[in-house]
Amino acid sequence: MFYSWVRRSGIGFINIGLLYLTACSGGERSGGRESAFQVALLTPGPISDQAWNATAYHGLERIRDSLGASISHIQTKTPAEFEENFRQYGTKGYDLVIGHGFEFQDAARRVGPQFPKTLFVTTGGEGTGPNVVALSFAFDEPSYLAGMAAAAITKTGVIGGIGGTELPPVKLGFEAFLAGARLVRPDIRLLVAYLGNWDDAGAGKEQALAQLNQKADVIYQNADAAGLGVFQAVRQAKGVWVIGSNADQNRLAPEVTLGSVLIDVPHAFLLLARQAQLRAVRGPTIHFGTASDVVRWVPNPLAPAPPAKVLAQMDSVRAVFAAGGRPVVTPR
């Protein structure tokens, strides 16, 4: 009886129900009343990646804890989803909607003008208007310092970089990494590989093993969750090092991590949210560099420090960045 009813009424409904369940599982809401300052975050990947997305979620939590904001987070994958969710939050009257990544830029530009009361922010890229703002991180500055540290410790003169996809900030990070390394050791060689996604930890590990086989002995990973596979490959090998990115990943595998190229996203988000609350955001693009302490090279205290000469060199380079100087890189 039940089955025949289901059949007649169209089983499609049940399937759609499953889809809906799935679609909703990524989103969650917490926080106070409707009148509160409302902040939403869209991440391009899972917030359990202990890297790019995790650090954004920590930033969102900090906004909630420090400013009493009501927060919402959703994980999105495709550009169509970026736009749809921007629009959803705009319709609900959110004050601040953050798309966490360069890839959200186009969606923000399209949706922004339709919801002038909502501030749309992308981490990365360029802002275009009063309510379409970009946070620009000078990711290349700490990457340059990481390259100097890598060049000081490599024995083979071959270093590696593994990225998720070739987003401009990722590519620029590797270019600066090489430029910094060349400053210390001009004959150094950099192997760059991209996985084509940010989730496949299996591919991350195999790609790292392939680079280690090509004599790389320091690998700079910028592949979010898939980067955990890079850590695993380096842990298995002997006498090789990994460099973390975006979050402070030194704790993940302290015995093999040279340091992390950190973007202090929580700090940047809080600064942004404070200004947004006061309606005092000065866009269209807000730059965070070494001077703001939002981006920095965090050496792992358990790893051997570079020789004093290199350390002094790194200090003077950092001072140049803090004073507004920029790394000089040659595009690959």
Partner: protein, 307 residues
């Protein structure tokens, strides 16, 4: 040359192992005349099931947990498709989405934002005494994990079972002609339930192998398309056990080559390397084009709704 060849072939076997588990599971399901395109959701469930069970009872328990999680997902599929007679393609798609969403939510619930980190119990490769010292073959085929060795035993066993046993014959008969199988007095529903659950358990083992024998950690979405690749492998393998295993090896090889070429530092757009496994599939499928060998019932949605 050997310095390049051995790591390449080693990576080929390592990458092909989980693919082969999923593809052989899908093969058995399809031989019963039902296509389960929800393999992706099954694999990711196997990844998480393996992680959780391994945390509770060690790596061996992890593989069991992965297989059970995969079979559980497959049971949902079988219930909808065989019992409620839902469309298999839509149900399979929903299963994939359910698997990816549910594992993400459960993972965060169980492990919090810090995740399982890198301390997952895992199994290390074992060099088989004697065999592993053979030149070339030894380091490639006989210094792998237990899951690869299990596959060496499983492939001939499955080929024999499908070709020579009454149960194997019955399964294939159901896949070729449901009507004839019914006329012969076969329990079509039961055989298909069995084939789907078995396929799910194998998909779950694929996931557990990824977590416990290959990567040593879990990440959301780490199945990364392997479920769909498994379906392609079955087509490329012409629905045969040995063919499917070889097709899994070809895919493993294509991925390993992709890693190697990128690591070699060639200044070509990386998209070309990433596309390599898929280009190869298209070329092979076109080259091997010939008599259609798919189980006849696969094409007949009507047959599912009358089972």
């Amino acid at each position: 040359m050997e310095a390049l060849l051995i790591p390449f072939l080693d990576a080929t076997i390592r990458t092909a192992t989980p693919l082969a588990y999923a593809a052989l599971g899908e093969l058995v399901t399809e031989r019963s005349g039902v296509i389960n395109i929800g393999m992706e959701g099954i694999i990711i469930a196997g990844c998480l099931g393996g992680l959780v069970a391994a945390g509770a009872g060690g790596a061996a328990m992890g593989f069991l947990g992965g297989a059970l999680a995969g079979a559980g997902m497959a049971a949902i599929f079988a219930f909808f498709v065989l019992r409620l007679r839902a469309d298999a393609i839509i149900t399979g798609t929903a299963l994939t989405l359910l698997g990816l969403g549910l594992t993400g939510t459960l993972y965060r619930g169980l492990f919090g934002l810090e995740g399982a980190a890198l301390g997952t119990p895992s199994i290390a490769p074992i060099a088989l005494p004697g065999l592993s010292s053979l030149p070339l073959v030894g380091p490639v085929f006989f210094t792998q994990t237990g899951m690869t060795y299990l596959l060496y035993l499983f492939v001939p066993a499955l080929a024999w079972w499908l070709a020579r046993t009454q149960a194997g014959l019955a399964l294939r008969a159901v896949g070729e002609s449901r009507a004839a199988a019914l006329a012969a007095g076969l329990d079509v529903q039961r055989l298909r339930w069995g084939a789907i659950l078995f396929g799910g358990a194998m998909g779950g083992l694929c996931g557990a192998t990824l977590v416990l024998a290959q990567v040593g950690t879990f990440t959301e979405g780490m199945s990364a398309g392997r479920g769909f690749i498994a379906i392609a492998i079955v087509v490329l393998g012409r629905w045969r056990t040995v063919g499917t295993t070889l097709a899994a090896l070809i895919f493993g090889g294509a991925f390993a080559l992709q890693y190697l070429l990128q690591a070699a530092g060639w200044a070509l757009p990386y998209h070309l390397f990433l596309a390599l496994p898929y280009l190869l599939t298209l070329i092979l499928l076109a080259a091997l084009r010939g008599r259609a060998e798919a189980p006849a019932e696969l094409a007949s949605q009507e047959s599912w709704s009358r089972a």
